[in-house]
């Protein structure tokens, strides 16, 4: 059978990333787990960046599905956003901290992930972007441990939700 070595490599990369963070994701480590040496990996994958693009695509698809399932109301979306991101911190960061390789991503992926929030904002794109930024900001500051240790994150999320409820 030998199901596609590329998807296998992406899976291994995801395991490594989620378990031990971005520094653990090396071509040699991936190859090791696939039972081969690093150079052989290049018979299946052109380079590491491509692998990361696949990882980002998978992450966005999964994340988008979670948001979609939360339905188009803002508090539920915020909760889903935060809980997925904190459950997959390295994946969230990978998919979010760098420019999107839009030309190498499946058509419509981005829009599909954004759709629930846009609907929750009644189609107001600017408002949706501001809300997205709020959620992303809260999540990424939390993931980077930027809030003081005594900060009440739930309360901060409530304040965020309150600002956008009006």
């Amino acid at each position: 059978m030998a199901e596609d070595r590329v998807t296998q490599a992406v899976g291994v990369a995801r395991e490594l990333l989620e378990a031990d963070g971005p520094d653990a994701v090396s071509m040699r480590a991936i190859a090791d787990r696939m039972g081969m040496r690093a150079p052989s990996l290049y018979k299946h994958v052109p380079d590491k960046a491509t692998l990361e693009v696949h990882l980002i695509a998978a992450a966005l698809a999964e994340f988008g599905a979670v948001l979609h399932a939360a339905g188009p109301n803002l508090p539920a979306l915020a909760q889903a956003y935060r809980s997925w991101a904190t459950a997959h911190p390295h994946l969230y960061t990978l998919a979010t901290a760098q420019p999107l390789p839009r030309d190498r991503l499946p058509e419509g992926l981005e829009d599909r992930a954004a759709a629930p929030l846009l609907k929750a904002c009644g189609g107001d794109r600017d408002r949706a972007r501001a809300a997205w930024a709020g959620a992303h900001g809260l999540v990424s500051l939390e993931l980077a441990d930027r809030f003081p240790p005594d900060a009440d994150l739930d309360a901060a999320w409530d304040a965020f939700a309150a600002a956008f409820a009006a």
Copy 2:
């Protein structure tokens, strides 16, 4: 005289970072610009991480001063936040994307940078954190080119300000 080689190294690191991004900041490149080889740099600086801590401290101090100068009202703060960050994208990212090495930073640096926003929010810490997250989210998504090319960022900032104006 030989003004402190450490501050000189930090200055060079900043130049490299601002000019060509984080990948350009290598110990060898810094040493080159100082007219020496990389190993000699270690006679003055214990390691690269320490250099980065100095860079972060300098960035936070400068950024904090800019915010302070903007005064404690939210629209002015938002404008100052965005314009400093976009003027120094790599520096902003460096100082913001990783956990703060709080134990190695000057006492009170963090609070001083946060003070203007806290005052603008009337001392409501949760609200201030939500507002900070909004600004940080907008900036970091903009810096990472995450908004669609046709997005009107000014309008998104207005929507953000409107949400927190009420």
